[in-house]
């Protein structure tokens, strides 16, 4: 059985198909049709809902995050408060709704419920902090909140205007007769929080009686280990942002899912001697708060990875586990020399991340194993990590290629490169290092001459494919150009902000 709240009301579910998405459940079983389907692949945001869960940093409070309900499975709702647009029908209207009307932010209206929920979630987050509530929302944060919501009609300008306007306005409850969903208090109802806190300690699951399809939710690594050992054919699911596409796009009916997202140990982030340890269940959203502290380039890269909805759900383990050649974290982590930790009833196994990927979507994972985490050596004084993601569209687009350059210089002047690891995504069937290129650079002076040699060497490292995201030629040319960009970025006496090197600098 799973337990959760929907728009303030307690819900339980036991006999249900684990392949059922939250969106389908809302629309077909609950007949709550406010939430729309535009793609069922996580790309358009029409299905955006807000998920409340116990806030790790503030006890007795829920934090709310936007997700795509089309690729969230019902099983993942256990212990959550699911808020949909259907809750927002009371007078006085939510500031976000009022601003969207005032600014003419809806034309055909089909994207609108999703936009409302993205802005509602942003508004809720800002108003959970008395200080932020009064300040204008930074454009950057507003655009981030909206980047996963496509609108084909408006051109976005009025939606941005509505977001700005709404964020500084308070949502007040109805003055005269109190209504259950009016004003923000119900989002933090104490008995609901108490119930959700209780649920977090209870193991949940689904089983569809007619088909025996199952969804298991272990709470500890020990439980996960034994489930994994007993059901080697079951599929692991973390955020589901990748796996759910098999269900919604390929129409597969998966027989048995084991969720790893409730396993607390997999969410660890800590410094272990001179390395950073990240559990497999850490989400992109959490990594965004952490990784740029050590390697600033992660900020720009993670911002372009998926959308906020995806980053709220998608995990490090899922990004490694799906072994996509265009996953964005693996090349970065390979360049950093990260070590992968696998776990099973047989014990823990560690190996360099780069040797985990064997061939297209094939990894070295053994039956019964799961990814437990990665260990990343912390930077030294003269180390630098450069991450360059290239995609057709700047927001929410899978990389055509991604170049990750870990550079270790002799000294602060960066005249000579004493060591480097260069890895690319999108250049081969797996994320992989450019060994010939590295060889051409290590021990050489860091200048245009060496870069030219490295660009030449690159040709022997990769024979990329042509596909919908770009031709082999384009990938080869840009991979070489990114070396040039790396040189320019690290050596310019000209860190002249007036002469930027990428279009991201204009965001």
């Amino acid at each position: 059985m799973i337990e959760f709240f929907l728009n303030g009301e307690h819900q339980t579910l036991a006999n249900a198909d684990p392949n059922l998405s939250i969106l389908e459940w809302l629309r077909t079983k609950m007949r709550l049709t406010g939430t729309k389907e535009g793609c069922a692949s996580g790309d358009c945001g029409a299905c955006t809902v807000s998920i409340g869960s116990p806030d790790q940093t503030r006890p007795e409070r829920l934090r709310y995050d936007s997700i795509n309900s089309c690729i969230g499975l019902v099983g993942s709702l256990h212990g959550c408060h699911l808020v949909t647009v259907d809750a927002l029908k009371q007078e006085p209207v939510h500031p976000v709704q009022k601003a969207m009307i005032d600014c003419h932010g809806a034309q055909c209206g089909f994207c609108t419920p999703g936009i409302i929920m993205s802005l509602f979630t942003l508004h809720t987050a800002r108003h959970s902090d008395a200080l932020l509530a009064q300040q204008p929302v930074p454009d950057h944060q507003l655009l981030e909140a909206l980047a996963g919501n496509l609108c084909r009609c408006t051109g976005y300008r009025p939606i941005i205007a509505a977001g700005r306007k709404a964020c500084v306005e308070t949502w007040s409850p109805a003055a005269d007769q109190p209504q259950p969903l009016s004003g923000p208090d119900w989002l933090q109802a104490p008995d609901m929080i108490a119930a959700l806190t209780r649920m977090a300690t209870q193991r949940s699951g689904l089983e569809e009686v007619a088909t025996h399809r199952r969804y298991d939710t272990p709470l500890t690594v020990a439980e996960l280990r034994s489930l994994r050992a007993d059901h080697p054919n079951a599929r692991l699911i973390a955020g589901g942002t990748d796996l759910a596409l098999e269900i919604t796009q390929q129409l597969k009916d998966l027989e048995h899912l084991i969720a790893v997202d409730q396993v607390a140990e997999l969410k660890t982030t800590e410094i272990r001697s001179d390395a950073l340890y990240l559990g497999a269940g850490v989400t992109y959203r959490q990594m965004q708060a952490l990784l740029p502290q050590y390697w600033p380039h992660f900020a720009g890269m993670l911002e372009r990875l998926g959308s906020l909805q995806i980053r709220n759900k998608g995990t490090l383990g899922g990004n490694i586990g799906n072994a996509s050649p265009i996953g964005d974290m693996p090349p970065a982590l390979i360049a950093l020399g990260a070590e992968l930790e696998l776990d099973s009833t047989e014990g823990v196994r560690r190996l360099p991340l780069e040797s985990f990927f064997l061939d297209y979507k094939k990894t070295d994972i053994k039956p019964g194993e799961f990814i437990r985490g990665v260990t990343i050596p912390l930077p030294h004084a003269n180390d630098q990590l450069l991450l360059y993601k290239i995609s057709k569209r700047l927001d929410d687009d899978i990389s055509t290629l991604l170049g990750a350059f870990w550079l270790r210089f002799d000294d602060a002047d960066r005249t000579t490169l004493s060591d480097c690891r260069i890895a690319f995504g999108g250049m081969a069937a797996i994320p992989r290092r450019a060994q010939a290129t590295e060889k051409a650079l290590i021990g050489q002076s860091w200048d245009a001459h060496s870069i030219a040699a490295a660009v030449a060497a690159l040709a022997s490292d990769f024979q990329p494919m042509s596909d919908v995201r770009g031709s082999a030629d384009y990938r080869n040319t840009v991979a070489g150009n990114l070396l040039t960009r790396a040189l320019l970025e690290t050596t310019r006496s000209h860190t002249d902000p007036a002469l930027p090197l990428t279009v991201n600098d204009y965001a």
């Binding site: 790309d43 647009v85 809806a106 796009q249 129409l251 290239i390 700047l394 090197l501 279009v503």
Partner: protein, 792 residues
């Protein structure tokens, strides 16, 4: 047309929300609270079935056999039908035959529907539809425009428009350039996919709820497929979650297939396409292959042009004849071509049949002449804006290559005004200076105009009907043939009605478009929605008003001129009555308070044989100035600022018009930049979802986006309250972004080279332009060798 409307909707003491004022979309609250119902939100009957179709996996083949047993046996499946089960017509081509409702012996594109399934859930229907075993005999497909051109393989005959003697003009011109370009297609990506819900009626007919821009055509085609008189079919469209032309003809097949399944099962059937199926099975904007041969003088003034536009129509004619016509009509955009020939081809390929998309071929035609303007400028070393301005239509140089004279010259002033308000010249100077210093990032700027002809080029479509009822409490019910897809048509026409009676907008209620209220309607397309339906509604109002005036004259013994309507009142001589009170009096006196209205656009005609005529009632105009930054190492780019000045005549609703302009611009920009349709060598569409097909997202919108309406510009033609159509024209403002990208890249060769840049100008194509420019400038392929820059 019986009466000319008054020139202005506004009277000194005006009622609230009448035409000319901003009013919110009539569904605004329902939109933001998730209560606006789209097809898939209509409450479902317990016995509802869901439809899906089996798709061809071959581009061109003969079907040898089709084994559907596994489909029939799949749990949940209730019925499976093929073309043999169709009682009536099997061809549902909208204008010309060529579109089988379900495939017969031959398939002509990958994804073509072969059979249809009805099952108890959408998932079961889709899963079952994949289980057919089909044997094909492969035939040799034609997949590209060039291949079709080489084989003269067309869906409709080619034709030309000719003015003067272009061959001689070209031969004698001081300068002559020739070039070709590919202009990409575009997926509509309406956020609401195609959908319909069809219910059986007690008379063996059907009631169709559909997301369609053309309910009357859906009605007719369903009737033909079921072999019933049209009156047995009713079609209702409350709203669409976006249309953009993609639901003009493309919604009908779903309704026809569903109706067939309703006929077979006796149960209601819903057919909602999953996104991938929608992208595979429904038509898109035509991609074009265009060429020009132009001659001009030392100042860049055109003396002659020979232009060819060739659209990839896909396997059937659909609307392609008119779409390529419109590309031909717009191959001049805003410029006087002088001696000119424009030839249009309608290429047949074994791909999905391309269809209407905002602009209807016009944008694709314009691209070739806009490319020419840039090319001329680089050739003579002038600023592209000066070349554009020099070539604008103006008195004396005002006849198009199809014989229509441009009468209202709005653009020269409009461009001057935008040039000033956008600081074009100052920014041009700053950009040139920046580019000289910046090694990797290059900036570009361009100001491009749009002149777009308004009217359906098929004359008979330029008609509309409306139905207005005034109830005894003074509330008004309005219905017309136009459909609401987000463009705000319902509210605009309601504002027209409110203005006609001079009552508050709240008194007017618009109801869903229905074929049994207003019959034989035209599609809501060609930007004509408010022009046509606004006039028809006004006509109905005028009829009712006339009856009210007659009643007042009789009852109160006044002259007709003594009866006026203003601010929710009817003034009769010296007396004033509240609107509701007066309506009540008229009712008691047995005055009819209901009327139909009708409108047919005057003047227009086109002789296709001669390629000459007056196909447009008027032109809509606008211009945009966009600035971009380009990364010359990756080809990635961003739009940093766009200024738009657009002419909507006397706006019916300024906020809604601005929304159309902004949205149109972004959609046009997307078409020319990141939206790339990729097909495999076998003709299979590979970009079948938003994961690979990238429409603009929020931060693709210009960081600085300034849109204004051209003030004091009433339409010279007697359109509804002197407004101008606004649906399509702004899309082409997006061309400014493409031209700015070329400008940025051209800076690398000191603006002496006009880099070819086919569209969509993805980062990959932009990088290709960078490489070509470097090659021209004799630079090596690294950034360190930045362009040697002299002043342009």
């Amino acid at each position: 047309m019986r009466k000319l409307p008054s020139h202005s909707a506004q009277t000194p003491t005006s009622a609230r929300g009448v035409a000319g004022k901003s009013a919110h979309h009539d569904s605004a609250w329902k939109h933001v609270s998730g209560q606006a119902r789209y097809i898939d939100d209509i409450p479902e009957a317990a016995d509802l079935l869901h439809a899906a179709v089996g798709q061809s996996s071959e581009a061109y083949a003969r079907i040898l056999s089709m084994d559907l047993s596994a489909v029939r046996e799949y749990p949940g499946v209730v019925a499976v039908v093929t073309v043999d089960d169709v009682p009536g017509h099997t061809d549902i081509g909208p204008v010309f035959p060529g579109d089988p409702v379900l495939a017969g012996d031959i398939v002509e594109y990958i994804g073509q529907p072969l059979f249809a399934v009805a099952a108890t859930s959408m998932r079961a229907a889709r899963q079952a539809a994949r289980l057919a075993k089909v044997e094909y005999e492969k035939l040799e497909p034609v997949l590209t425009t060039e291949a079709a051109l080489a084989k003269q393989f067309f869906v409709r005959p080619s034709h030309s428009q000719l003015r003067g003697d272009p061959d001689r003009a070209l031969a004698n011109a001081p300068h002559r350039l020739q070039a070709d370009m590919h202009v990409g297609g575009q997926e509509h990506f309406y956020l609401e996919g195609q959908a319909c819900l069809v219910e059986p009626t007690e008379d063996a007919g059907v009631f169709v709820h559909t997301s369609s821009q053309h309910p009357s055509e859906v009605q007719k085609l369903v009737a033909e497929v079921l072999d019933l008189p049209i009156h047995e079919i009713q079609v209702e469209v409350r709203r669409m979650g976006g249309g953009f032309g993609g639901k003009e003809t493309q919604a009908a097949p779903l309704a026809c297939i569903s109706a067939l399944l309703v006929r077979t099962t006796g149960r209601p059937v819903k057919f909602r396409m999953a996104r991938a199926d929608d992208m595979i099975q429904t038509g898109k904007r035509h991609d074009f292959y265009n060429t020009y041969d132009i001659g001009f003088d030392d100042n860049g003034l055109l003396q002659g042009a020979d232009i060819m536009v060739a659209g990839r129509c896909g396997f059937s004619p659909d609307l392609s004849d008119a779409i390529v016509d419109r590309a031909m009509f717009h191959a001049d955009n805003a410029y006087y071509l002088d001696q000119a020939r424009v030839t249009g081809h309608r290429c047949k390929t074994h791909t999905v049949s391309n269809t209407a998309f905002r602009g209807f071929g016009g944008p694709q035609g314009m691209m070739i002449i806009e490319r020419a303007m840039d090319d001329i400028a680089r050739h003579i070393g002038a600023d592209p804006l000066d070349v554009r301005k020099r070539n604008l239509y103006r008195p004396g140089r005002d006849q198009t290559h199809y014989g229509q004279t441009v009468e209202q010259h709005v653009l020269a002033e409009l461009i001057d005004s935008l040039e000033t308000s956008s600081d074009y010249r100052e920014r041009r100077t700053a950009i040139t200076a920046f580019n000289r210093r910046s090694p990797v990032i290059k900036k570009g700027i361009a100001l491009t105009p749009v002149k777009f002809g308004i009217s359906f080029t098929a004359q008979h479509l330029n008609q509309a009907g409306a139905l207005v009822h005034v109830y005894t409490d003074g509330s008004i019910h309005l219905n017309h043939g136009g459909t609401e897809m987000g463009q705000g048509l319902y509210i605009k026409v309601a504002q027209v009605v409110a203005a006609a009676f001079q009552v508050d907008l709240e008194r007017v209620k618009v109801s869903a478009t229905r074929t049994d209220k207003v019959p034989n309607t035209s599609p809501t397309a060609a930007s004509s929605g408010s022009d046509l339906n606004g006039m028809a509604a006004l006509d109905a109002c005028e009829t009712i008003k006339q009856r009210l005036v007659d009643f007042a004259v009789q009852t109160y013994k006044v002259e007709p001129g003594d009866v006026t309507f203003s601010n929710n009142q009817v003034h009769v001589g010296t007396q004033a009555f509240g609107w509701a009170e007066f309506v009540q009096q008229a009712y008691m006196a047995r005055v009819s308070l209901s009327s139909t209205g009708f409108y047919a656009t005057p003047i227009i005609y086109y002789d296709r044989e001669a390629g000459q005529g007056h196909p447009f009632l008027y032109y809509a105009n606008g211009a945009a100035c966009s600035e971009v930054v380009v990364d010359t190492l990756s080809g990635e780019y961003r739009v940093v600022r766009t200024d738009i000045l657009h002419d909507v005549g006397q706006s019916l609703n300024p906020e809604i018009d601005i929304g159309q302009i902004e949205g149109g611009f972004i959609q046009g920009m997307g078409w020319l930049t990141t939206e790339e349709l990729v097909f495999s060598d076998e003709g299979q569409l590979l970009t079948t979802g938003p994961a690979t097909y990238k429409i603009p997202a929020v931060s693709d919108a210009p960081l600085d986006f300034r849109v204004a309406l051209l003030p004091h510009s009433p339409n010279r033609e007697a359109t509804v309250f002197r407004s101008k159509a606004v649906g399509e024209p702004p899309l082409m403002l997006g061309i400014s972004v493409w031209s700015a990208l070329r400008d940025a890249v051209a800076s690398m060769a000191d603006y002496r080279f006009s880099p070819p840049l086919d569209t969509p100008a993805t980062p990959e194509r932009v990088l290709g332009a960078v490489t070509a420019t470097r090659r021209f400038a004799g630079l090596n392929d690294t950034a360190s060798g930045a362009a040697p820059c002299k002043s342009a």
